[in-house]
């Protein structure tokens, strides 16, 4: 889908070019109003052949229409199954801690780029996408939509988003779980700083609703490695008490703490069949997204799809 209209800040053509050919498939069945590329839980709907679509890496070879190939020498896949579209919810953590950034972009900016790029991708494959921005509470909520205007709406909301103190991701997940009536794709962009136990409860709640969940655990490289020297006074972005220390002296312990933290989140995601993506904001966005999409598609095509 070409980008039309004024240039959008959070859509980088280079990124889109890299990930544009990678579909975002729901790993589980999702409910949609229109026919889409995702398996619907409703039997008998659109069970006949509907149309072809270009083969993408990861598609089962048995679905390739060899006749068409014989004529055109291009790979097309025949869609037999009842397929539907999905609603995707992009949950963006806009708390103050996301303001931190040692690279070109802060974590929040990086998350906005990710959200916008994925929104574009979702809309491009005719699925619906919505946006929820939160800090200590839900700041704004854009219900899912599949029109091309959605990308502009989301871009505008992202532009309006400024960091606010205090994150309570767990409460937000509970609230989102109550709002979403259909089984949907839920993507969470956050550094997840807060109570891990509460976060796990929120994920459990979302997973109970049958949603496809992806957690983009967004962290700055400094937060992963604590590379400072000398004596540093750490001032909490969310009003926590200051800590003065020599980072070099605690680096190993800190990195172990980070490792434990991410492992804990990762385990919680696995238990809830959610995708966990540890995002290092020093890595190029297109690489992060393409790796994620490829991995996801591989898992989906490889029969690891789980149905309820």
């Amino acid at each position: 889908m070409p980008i039309r209209g004024p240039k959008l800040r959070y859509l980088d053509p280079q990124v889109l070019e890299r990930i544009g050919s990678l579909p975002l498939a729901a790993r589980q069945v999702v409910e949609g109003l229109r026919v889409g590329m995702h398996k619907s839980p409703r039997r008998g709907f659109s069970t006949e052949f509907a149309h072809h679509r270009p083969y993408v890496a990861g598609d089962a070879v048995r679905h390739v229409d060899w006749r068409v190939y014989g004529r055109t020498e291009r790979y097309y896949v025949k869609l037999y199954d009842a397929e539907t579209n999905f609603d995707a919810y992009l949950l963006l953590d806009a708390s103050s801690s996301m303001r931190y950034g040692s690279t070109k972009h802060s974590k929040l900016e990086y998350a906005k780029f990710m959200a916008a790029s994925l929104a574009y991708l979702i809309l491009a494959q005719r699925d619906s996408v919505g946006l929820a921005v939160f800090d200590s509470r839900l700041r704004s909520f854009v219900p899912p939509g599949g029109t091309q205007g959605m990308i502009a709406t989301i871009e505008r909301k992202l532009l309006e988003t400024v960091p606010e103190p205090r994150t309570d991701v767990a409460a937000l997940l509970h609230e989102i779980a109550q709002r979403i009536k259909r089984r949907s794709l839920v993507m969470l962009f956050s550094d997840l700083f807060g109570s891990v136990d509460e976060l796990i409860k929120g994920l459990d709640h979302l997973a109970f609703g049958g949603h496809n969940i992806t957690v983009f655990h967004t962290l700055d490289p400094h937060e992963l490695e604590l590379p400072f020297n000398g004596t540093c006074r750490f001032v909490g972005l969310e009003g926590e008490a200051e800590i003065t220390t020599q980072p070099k002296r605690i680096r190993a312990a800190y990195m172990k703490e980070v490792s434990d933290f991410t492992a804990q989140v990762r385990r919680a995601c696995e238990r809830n069949h959610a995708d966990y993506v540890l995002v290092n904001t020093s890595h190029p966005l297109e690489v992060v997204l393409s790796e994620y999409l490829l991995r996801r598609n591989r898992l989906t095509a490889g029969g690891t799809r789980l149905e309820r």
Partner: protein
């Protein structure tokens, strides 16, 4: 536990121990502020690491402080005496008594030779390169080797060249000056050795100053006195040789008075005392047996047969201490001795006029016409302006009322160039006349300012009498040998009251204390002031038999040149020399023939030559060029050091009672005594090693803590 410090002032650097703390505090303030999101993760880490870090920091800081402390202590160089001496950490100051008595040589060896033997014993206990100071004591300490690393060859050479000093020991002065020499020795243990003959005169009753100096020295060093053995304590000395009387002109006979004293413990036969004029014996007197301590005056006569500088020597036969057996004097004999008498009352030509009495006293009519007397010329005071003063040796102003100012200036110049002036009071002499003239700036000559006329009751009987307690002065010395009654008859009816000037000195005074005869040196000459004159209405002194003696002695005294005054070792020779400009170099050669170059300088507006301290008794010649000497100075030993009696170890212990001094008797082995005393060592090396070890520990800890973090 006592830890004396060699550099105690370095403790001022102790606050440097706080530097690591300061750096720590400064670093705490030099922090980088980081706005941080993952505070919770950080907080969880800090919960268990912060206490560890604080402990680690505290430990590192303590180690660093300890390193600084150890370095400061090391440079302060603490020492200890409670540890056994593992290395030769002793610094030594050896003070050798080099005074006159140490020349005493009763046999083959002198006391100084014995002292050198004891010094060698001390040096045997000193390790090479340890600090040693070698001092020879006399009137002051002479440093032979100062704080030098001990080198046996070098020290032996100095000891072999050691010579006695021909001067008495100034113990208290030497002890005081030894203090800085001891203090500068850098060693945990310092020892001060006094190697001396322990002369009774010096050591029997130590002065309070000497005791205090000893106590101060004992605070920084172990004091040991090493007396030397002496087989004899006998000594005879010529303690004085003076011109007693006689006019110093060719043909006269000079009478000398010498004093021979027995300083020993037993009666000694002094034998003969010879008077030598140059190398020729001109008189000889038998002195005979002298009791212990007895001083015998001996009169000696010398005919003055030629003009010039005569070298007179009074010599005793040799004994154990030869340096004080000879005494030297110099006489400047003239062909003629001319005196100008300026008469203030020329109209009075009677034999009893003051001027006539003065002239008679100076040149009495004697039966023996061959006796050499001064040539006295009489002129009225009005002829003074026309007189050539340089033709005379002495000018006498008798009752002169005043004179023109240019004459007063000329008179001052005459005196400055070595002439003598006698001013005699009288009815014409008024404070506002001659008094003002001869005290004015530019022509100031009088030793005192004339104030007023004092009249006694007027009768002979009730006149003021002279104070018969005469000072020891060459001018009045002959009067001391006269019967007391003679001077006791003298009466003074009138005199001028005076106010003594700083340069003035009273030689004769009334019993009331009023000065009668005063003296003042002016340049190379001298001025005498008779405040009672020679007028018979003022006093009866002019007809007293002592008057001619006094007047002739005054002429002799005034006509003598500065170089005729003998010098005592170690005083320098200070000589005003006419006709030489400041900066001119002259040569002064001593009895040993060695010549020293001396540069003329200005002292009190006068050009003088001042030599270094004298060392050798005898005649010292002053040469302006290669010609004959322009002056000769007699230099004598100070016989205060001639008393060769010494204290035995028991007496010495009594003398040092209450003082922290150890006496090592002459028969005791020095090395054994010293080894017994020594102990202790310096700790700076230990402290430096400890500091280095702590630094290594600190580096390891810091590295380990750092690695634990990463």
């Amino acid at each position: 536990m006592e830890l004396p410090l060699l550099n105690p002032w370095m403790l001022a650097a102790l606050p440097a121990v706080g530097i690591p703390v300061l750096i720590h505090l400064l670093n705490r303030h030099r922090t980088e502020t980081v706005e941080w999101g993952a505070m919770e993760l950080l907080r969880r880490v800090m919960v268990f690491r912060s206490r560890q870090i604080r402990l680690e920091d505290l430990l590192l800081m303590l180690v660093r402080c300890a390193v600084v402390l150890l370095v400061v202590l090391a440079v302060a160089r603490p020492t200890t005496k409670w540890l056994p001496m593992t290395q030769p950490d002793t610094g030594v100051v050896i003070a050798i008594d080099g005074s006159l008595s140490m020349s005493h040589r009763p046999g083959l060896t002198s006391r100084l030779d014995e002292a050198v033997l004891r010094v060698r014993e001390i040096l045997k206990t000193v390790e090479p390169n340890r600090p040693v100071t070698l001092v020879e004591m006399g009137s002051r300490p002479r440093v032979l080797l100062r704080n030098a690393g001990y080198d046996p060859t070098r020290f032996e050479q100095v000891l072999q060249e050691l010579k006695p000093l021909n001067e008495p020991l100034n113990l208290e002065g030497c002890l005081s000056e030894l203090e800085p020499l001891v203090a500068e020795i850098k060693a945990p243990r310092r020892e001060l050795y006094l190697v001396t003959d322990a002369q009774t005169a010096t050591f029997r009753n130590l002065s309070e100053k000497a005791r205090l100096a000893t106590q101060r020295l004992a605070e920084s060093a172990q004091l040991l006195v090493l007396p030397v053995l002496s087989a004899s304590e006998e000594n005879l000395a010529v303690t004085r040789l003076e011109l007693a009387s006689g006019v110093l002109r060719v043909g006269a006979i000079a009478r000398f008075q010498a004093v021979v004293q027995n300083f020993g413990r037993t009666a000694q036969d002094a034998g003969e005392l010879s008077l030598l004029l140059g190398d020729q014996v001109v008189d000889k007197r038998f002195v005979g047996l002298l009791a212990p301590g007895q001083a015998m005056p001996v009169r000696l006569y010398a005919p003055l047969s030629r003009a010039g500088v005569l070298r007179m020597t009074a010599r005793l036969g040799d004994d154990a201490l030869t340096a004080d057996n000879s005494r030297y004097a110099v006489l400047n004999v003239r062909n003629m001795l001319r005196v100008l008498c300026v008469d203030g009352e020329p109209m009075d030509r009677s034999d009893t006029s003051a001027t006539s009495l003065v002239m008679t006293a100076l040149a009495p009519k004697t039966i023996d016409r061959s006796e050499a007397l001064p040539d006295v010329e009489r002129i009225p005071w009005t002829a003074l302006p026309a007189a050539r003063l340089t033709d005379y040796d002495v000018v006498v102003l008798v009752n002169v009322a005043d004179m023109p100012e240019d004459r007063a200036v000329a008179l001052r110049k005459f005196v400055e160039q070595g002439g003598g002036l006698i001013v005699m009071a009288g009815n014409n002499v008024k404070p506002e006349g001659l008094g003002r003239r001869l005290t004015a700036s530019g022509s100031s000559l009088l030793p005192a300012e004339l104030v007023s006329l004092v009249r006694q009751s007027g009768s002979e009987v009730s006149g003021a009498t002279l104070d018969l307690d005469l000072p020891d002065h060459p001018l009045v010395r002959p009067l001391r040998s006269l019967p007391k009654e003679l001077l006791g008859e003298a009466r003074c009816y009138r005199h001028l009251r005076v106010r003594l000037m700083p340069e003035g000195r009273t030689l004769l005074q009334l019993t009331s204390g009023e000065p009668i005869l005063l003296e003042r040196p002016v340049g190379r000459g001298k001025v005498l002031l008779w405040t009672s004159g020679a007028d018979l209405t003022w006093n009866n002194l002019a007809i007293n038999p002592a008057f001619p003696i006094l007047m002739q002695q005054a002429v002799t005294y005034l006509s003598r040149q500065p170089f005729e005054e003998s010098v005592t070792v170690p005083q320098p020779i200070v000589l005003p020399l006419a006709g030489l400009a400041s900066g001119t170099e002259i040569g002064v050669s001593g009895p040993d023939g060695k010549q020293a170059v001396v540069r003329m300088g200005l002292q009190g507006g006068e050009v003088v030559a001042e030599t270094d301290r004298t060392a050798l008794p005898g005649f010292h010649d002053v040469h302006a060029d290669s010609q004959a000497p322009i002056a000769t100075v007699a230099v004598n030993v100070n016989t205060d050091g001639s008393d060769a009696k010494i204290l035995n170890p028991e007496e010495l212990a009594v003398a040092f009672a209450g003082l922290p001094i150890q006496v090592v008797a002459a028969d005791r082995n020095v090395a054994a005594a010293v080894t017994e005393l020594r102990g202790g060592r310096e700790l700076w090396q230990t402290l430096v090693f400890a500091a280095i070890a702590l630094l290594a520990i600190e580096a390891l800890l810091a590295r380990w803590y750092s690695r634990r973090g990463t």
